[in-house]
Symmetry: C2
Subunit: 388 residues, 2 copies
C-alpha cells in the first residue's frame, strides 16, 4: 500500500465533460485511505511547475455536485508543452507535496507528457503511480474505442447541423457553410452528417483525412444547389489541398507548435461567391462546440466520470504507466468498459477518421459511422415537423 | 361574419419559435367555422405570387404537435421585397383562393408588406382581414414590449456567452471574441451580458447603437487582460466606426437591399493580434443562434403561439390592419398580454437598444436590461462549479 498525496491536472483544450472525469477521480480517491490529500493543479502543467496546487479536500459537496454540469476545466488548463528542462521542477513539486498518485487528464500531447513523467519517476527511483485519463473532443487518441469529450462534441455537431439544415431549407437563399473543430482528425465533422438522412436540404461534408479539391467542390455545390432544396456544407477547420496547404491558413501556431487552423468555412463561402452565381454564408461555432451543457451527451458524461474513477482505482491497485481506455461492444446493445493501455502506445499517436467510412463522393459519410457514433450521443431522437 | 379561406405566410429570417406562431394561428382558426380552408404559402411572398399554397387542413395532428419543437420556418420563408408591380398578383392569388383572412408573420420589413396588402385590399374593395404576427430574433419591432423569437435568441446568447466565458477563463491563452446577430439593433448582443456577473473571466460587449472606437477597444482589451482571468468579447455583427463604416464589410446586400454584415469578430480578433502581443480567436455561431431547440425559451415559445392565436381571434372578431403586440409587466411578477398595434406604426420602424442601458464605459450593459430581459428567457438559473 502506497500512502501519500494525489495530484490531478488537466492538459490542452477542455471538453464538456472533463470535469466529470475530475469528479470521478476525486470521488474514487476519497474512498481509499492511502490517498491522503487530494490536490488539483491550477492551470495544468503551469500549476505543477509553479507548485500552485489546490486542496480539493476543501471543496464543498455542493461544488462537487455541480462539477458534472460544468463545462470547461474547473481546475484550469494550459497548452504548455513541457521540455526536458522542466521535468526536474515537476519532480521537485511532487517531492515537496509528497505526491504519490499523479493523474493527467488530456489528449495525445498530454499523454506524451504523462508518459515522460512516468519514465522520470522510474529513472529517479521516486515511487509514483502515474495514470492518464483520456480527454479529447477530437476522438483522436489511439487504441481506445473512443474518448471522453467526443460524444458531446459529436452531439453538438450532429444536432447543430440538423437544425442548421432546417434553416438552410426554409430560407434557401444562400449555401450555408459550417466549420467544426478538428485539426487533423475529422471525427467531429463526420458527426455533423449523423442525421443527414433527416435533413430537408442537401448536405456536403469535408474532412481533413482527404485532400480538398476546389473544382470537385464547386461542381458538387452547383449540382446539389440545382436540386432546389437548399444546401448545407459542413467542413473541418483543418481541411487542406493535396499539397498540404490549408484551405484557410491563419499563420499562427499554438503552445505545442501545431498550426492553428480556422477560417475554412469563410474561405469556402468566399470561394462559392467568387466562382458561382450563388450566395453563401459561413458559421463557425468554434469553442461553443465543446462547452454546451444543453447538448452534452449523458453517456459521455457518465463514461468520463467512470474514466476518472477507473484511473484512481487502478493506481490504488498498484498500476502505473497506463492510460484508461474504453472497450465497447455495439451489438446487441451498446456496452462500454474501461481498460488500461500502456502510455507509450498513446503518447503522440493520432487516430484519424477511417477512410473507408467516407463516401465514394468524398463528401458524405457511410452508415458504418452511424453505428459507431450514435450510441455515444446517449439517446438523441430528434424529430421535426415537415410541412412543405 | 366573414366566410372564406385563410392564408398564413412567413417573411424574412426564421426564428426558433416562428412555427409556434403558425401552430397558434392554425389551432385558433380551426375553432372558427367561418374560416374554411387554411392555407400556408410556400416560401412566403414567393408562394403567394406563384399561387403555391399548402392546405394546412391536411396536416396530421402529429405534425402539428411537432411544430412547436421545430425551428426554422415549416412553411418556408423568403427575403423577397414586394414591389408595386407585385401587388396585383397578390390580390389575384387572394381572389383565386378566396382568401379572406391573411396573416403575415415577420419583422419590420414584413410588416411594411403586410400594411401595403391591407391598403391594397381597402383600395380595391376586396373584403380581407389582414393581421401581422410579429417575429424577429432582433427584437427591433416598434411599440411592442418585445418580439416572439427574441427570448430564445437572447437565451442562446446569454448561455453561450457564459459557457464560453468558462472556457476563456479555464484556458486563458487567447482573447475569445464571439459575434452575434443584429444588424442595427444590439438586443441579442446585449443579452450576451445577462450573466456577466457570473462569468469567471472579464467581459466586453459592443453594440451597433454606439460608434466603435478602435483605440478605446484596444486599451480596454489590454486593461482587462492584465487582470489575468481571461477575456471574452461579444460583439454585434453590425458594429461600425463613427463615420458609419462597418468594422467588417462583406460588400453584400440582401433581398431587401440591406447590407449583409458578418466578420466583425474575426476583424476584432485580427486587430487584437496585429496591435497587441495577445492571441485571439473569433467564433461566429451565426444562424445557430436562431435554430437551437435546446436553448429555446419556453416563455418565448408559449408567447409566440399566443401571438398567432391572438391574430386569428382578432381577425374573426372583425379586426384588420393590425399587428399583434405584447404589453408586459415585470413587477411583482412577469405578466404579458397581447394587444393590437396599427400596422402603420410598425411598418419599417426600428426599435434600437436604449442608449441609457449601455454602461458608461461603452462596453457593458446596465442592470435595467436584466430586469427587462431575464423573464423572457423563461427560467434559466445556471450555476457552475468554481474551484480555482
Amino acid at each position: 500500500m502506497l500512502r501519500g498525496n494525489m495530484l490531478i491536472a488537466h492538459g490542452g483544450g477542455p471538453t464538456a465533460v472533463i470535469n466529470s472525469s475530475l469528479l470521478g477521480a476525486v470521488r474514487e480517491a476519497r474512498r481509499h485511505g492511502e490517498i491522503e490529500t487530494i490536490y488539483g493543479a491550477r492551470f495544468g502543467a503551469e500549476g505543477i511547475l509553479a507548485g500552485d496546487l489546490m486542496d480539493l479536500g476543501q471543496v464543498s459537496q455542493e461544488q462537487l455536485d455541480l462539477l458534472s454540469r460544468t463545462p470547461a476545466s474547473a481546475l484550469g488548463s494550459c497548452r504548455r508543452k513541457l521540455t526536458d528542462r522542466d521535468y526536474p521542477a515537476v519532480l521537485e513539486c511532487f517531492k515537496q507535496f509528497n505526491i504519490r498518485y499523479f493523474f493527467y487528464n488530456g489528449g495525445n500531447d498530454s499523454m506524451d507528457t504523462c508518459h515522460k513523467v512516468y519514465q522520470l519517476a522510474c529513472q529517479s527511483g521516486y515511487e509514483l503511480r502515474v495514470m492518464g485519463i483520456p480527454k479529447t473532443m477530437d476522438n483522436d487518441l489511439a487504441v481506445t474505442d473512443h474518448c471522453p469529450g467526443f460524444g458531446s462534441a459529436a452531439k453538438y455537431a450532429a444536432v447543430s447541423a440538423l437544425e442548421l439544415a432546417l434553416d438552410a431549407s426554409a430560407l434557401p437563399i444562400h449555401v450555408v457553410v459550417m466549420e467544426l473543430m478538428g485539426r487533423n482528425a475529422g471525427w467531429i465533422t463526420a458527426a455533423s452528417a449523423l442525421f443527414a438522412d433527416r435533413m430537408p436540404c442537401e448536405h456536403l461534408v469535408y474532412l481533413p483525412e482527404t485532400d480538398f479539391d476546389r473544382q470537385a467542390f464547386l461542381s458538387a455545390v452547383q449540382e446539389k444547389w440545382a436540386r432546389g432544396r437548399g444546401l448545407l456544407v459542413t467542413v473541418s477547420e483543418g481541411i487542406h489541398y493535396a499539397d498540404g496547404t490549408p484551405v484557410a491558413d491563419t499563420g499562427r501556431v499554438d503552445g505545442f507548435g501545431h498550426k492553428i487552423p480556422g477560417g475554412a468555412a469563410q474561405a469556402l463561402s468566399d470561394l462559392i461567391m467568387a466562382e458561382t452565381s450563388l450566395k453563401s454564408r459561413a458559421e463557425k461555432p468554434g469553442l461553443l462546440g465543446r462547452v454546451s451543457v444543453a447538448l452534452t451527451s449523458p453517456v459521455d458524461r457518465q463514461e468520463a466520470e467512470e474514466a476518472g474513477a477507473a484511473a484512481a482505482r487502478a493506481a490504488v491497485e498498484g498500476k502505473t504507466g497506463y492510460m484508461v481506455g474504453f472497450e465497447a461492444a455495439r451489438s446487441p446493445v451498446y456496452h462500454c468498459e474501461t481498460c488500461l493501455i500502456p502510455l507509450e502506445q498513446v503518447a503522440n499517436a493520432e487516430k484519424k477518421f477511417p477512410l473507408e467510412w467516407i463516401g465514394a463522393d468524398g463528401a458524405s459519410i457511410r452508415p458504418e459511422f452511424q453505428d459507431y457514433c450514435l450510441p455515444l450521443l446517449g439517446g438523441c431522437d430528434i424529430r421535426f415537423a415537415s410541412l412543405r
